[in-house]
């Protein structure tokens, strides 16, 4: 587009300001993780790796990390299966109620997490025990809770892909004598593979990061990484270790973005 040089400069400055706004806080967490002081103060008084060593030795944080990966893996796996099934039903078939379902299906991400969280907590602790199913609050309830929103993420990614890819390829495959399974394996699946990967990664990331629904659906025994961070934030002697874990999470977040970039032809369309 032809913009006046002045407009270009203004846009560039605005962009830099927005990027600074996005990155300065993250950068400060990284810098602060090398601050030897117990109490975080600005500017840092020196440089030290003492809190990094303390954090790497911290078994609580390590167990919480493993718990988070565990929950995210299960929630993503269930969401991939169920989410793509709904996506196929909505994109490939005409049926009564299709429009209302496609509106209802986005509710878990359109409604605030706290509503999902309190609804599920209420169901798990008050309603289910009444009908004889008392599973209590634990890892399973966290996985179920995370699946509700992971499912929507997978659905959004897959349905967008199916809407762009036409069904005529599948029809051609069937006309040429392939069975339903062969058609799925050789024609349909390759078309949606990258959407499944993108949706799955995003679902995994959201589950990994989730705190609100997790706090409400987890009993006292479950400690995912966000819950560990939250519980240790307020303890003054743990604050520097939390800071290091936070810095580590920021550094690790570059990895999924890098892979998402490589996988996707349309990187910004994440389907959130």
């Amino acid at each position: 587009m032809t913009l006046s040089p002045f407009a270009r400069v203004v846009l560039r400055v605005l962009l830099l300001l927005v990027l600074a706004f996005m990155y300065v806080p993250l950068l400060l967490v990284l810098i602060n993780s090398f601050n030897p002081n117990q109490v975080a103060s600005w500017p840092p008084k020196g440089f030290s790796l003492v809190w990094w060593e303390a954090a790497l030795d911290n078994t609580g944080a390590r167990d919480a990390l493993i718990e988070s990966l565990h929950v995210a893996a299960w929630a993503t796996a269930i969401a991939l299966v169920l989410g793509s099934m709904i996506a196929f039903a909505i994109a490939r078939y005409q049926w009564f109620g299709r429009e209302s379902i496609s509106l209802l299906i986005v509710l878990p991400i359109a409604l605030p997490g706290i509503v999902t969280g309190v609804a599920l907590q209420n169901a798990f602790t008050r309603v289910l025990p009444e009908i004889g199913i008392d599973i209590g609050l634990g890892l399973i309830t966290v996985i179920i809770a995370h699946t509700t929103f992971c499912l929507v993420i997978v659905f959004n990614n897959v349905v967008a892909r199916l809407r762009r890819a036409s069904a005529s390829m599948e029809e051609a495959s069937m006309d040429l004598g392939a069975s339903s399974w062969q058609t799925f394996r050789l024609v349909t699946f390759p078309q949606v593979r990258s959407a499944l990967l993108a949706g799955g990664m995003l679902a995994f990331g959201l589950s990994f990061d989730e705190i609100i629904v997790t706090q409400l659906a987890a009993g006292a025994g479950v400690q995912t990484l966000p819950i560990w961070i939250f519980n240790n934030l307020s303890r003054p002697n743990q604050a520097p270790v939390v800071n290091v874990v936070a810095a580590l999470v920021i550094l690790l977040s570059v990895i999924p973005v890098y892979f998402a970039q490589r996988l996707s032809d349309d990187p910004a369309h994440t389907g959130v």
Partner: protein, 296 residues
């Protein structure tokens, strides 16, 4: 349809059956996820709202299952709840507007001005904060805004001080947290907008402002609306960032949380949750007309 396919090439019976009965195929596809969705999510949601019309024994904290409108009435008539609700809507709306204002130039630069290489780098830069943990970001701001934090350190030489832990801090931090959710859908819709339209508008004599208003804005409106669903709804429900940087500030999310998880009055909390759902549903119906739901 008459079979022209020779018998030996005929597909398996199950697959042939499925092929002839799309209804069965559809049923098989829908049954498991719908069962999950209705039982796990919608039923839980419905039960929560039913709870809003029950009451709680103040001594035993047992739920009394008799239809009553006292919670809804309390929520609607108590001045505190009314002001918290209005305050929450105000914060959510302000955050949404700020996110749009910040996202537009950044997304526009990435989609229409930057060269391909710079564009890829910018997209990565927009995405990374989305993956960095919510709590880590809220926590970073707590440090920034604290008494001995960077903001005060920068402003002090000028004789100024930062917002501290306050409503302004809540708006600032929520804007920060949800900004990527606004940039991405706007970027995607700008990316789809053909450059030739912008050139045509310029060739026909429109200035940049006019082109933006009458060509760009109508096309990217669904993207903005999709982003605003996230910024608005996430702000309406947040309680953690609010409690970390808000000082005494209470939003609807905090009151709901305290009532349901904090051992308060569950039916009252449910009634308050109902209020926030109704506000968001109204918002969804409003933006649905722009086609925003397909952009999510």
């Amino acid at each position: 349809m008459p079979a022209i396919v020779p018998a030996e090439a005929r597909p398996h019976r199950a697959s042939a059956f499925l092929h002839r009965h799309p209804g069965v195929r559809l049923g098989a596809l829908l049954s498991a996820p719908m069962l999950w969705y209705f039982v796990m999510y919608l039923a839980a949601l419905a039960l929560l709202f039913l709870t809003a019309f029950w009451s709680q024994d103040s001594f035993t904290s047992q739920i009394i299952r008799e239809l009553t409108f006292e919670n809804v009435e309390e929520v609607l008539t108590t001045p505190v709840y009314r002001s918290v609700t209005l305050q929450t809507i105000g914060v959510a709306a302000t955050v949404t507007v700020l996110c749009i204002v910040l996202a537009l130039p950044a997304a526009f630069f990435a989609a229409k001005v930057a060269r391909p290489r710079a564009r890829r780098a910018l997209i990565v830069m927009f995405l990374v904060p989305l993956w960095a943990s919510y709590l880590v970001k809220a926590y970073a701001w707590r440090g920034l805004l604290s008494e001995s934090g960077v903001i005060n350190w920068v402003l002090e030489p000028f004789g100024l001080s930062g917002p501290g832990f306050s409503t302004v801090a809540v708006i600032l931090v929520l804007t920060y947290l949800w900004l990527p959710y606004m940039i991405l859908p706007i970027y995607v819709s700008l990316d789809r907008l053909p450059n030739s339209l912008l050139d045509a508008s310029g060739d026909l004599g429109a200035r940049a402002g006019t082109t933006f208003r009458s060509v760009v804005l109508p096309i990217i409106l669904p993207g903005i609306a999709a982003g605003s669903i996230f910024t608005f709804s996430l702000s309406m429900g947040d309680y953690i960032a609010v409690s970390l940087v808000g000082g005494d500030e209470l939003l609807l999310g905090n009151v709901i949380y305290n009532n349901i998880a904090g051992g308060g009055n569950t039916p009252l909390g449910a009634a308050l949750a109902l209020v926030s759902v109704i506000i968001i549903m109204l918002y969804l119906l409003l933006v649905r007309r722009t086609g925003a739901l397909k952009e999510l």
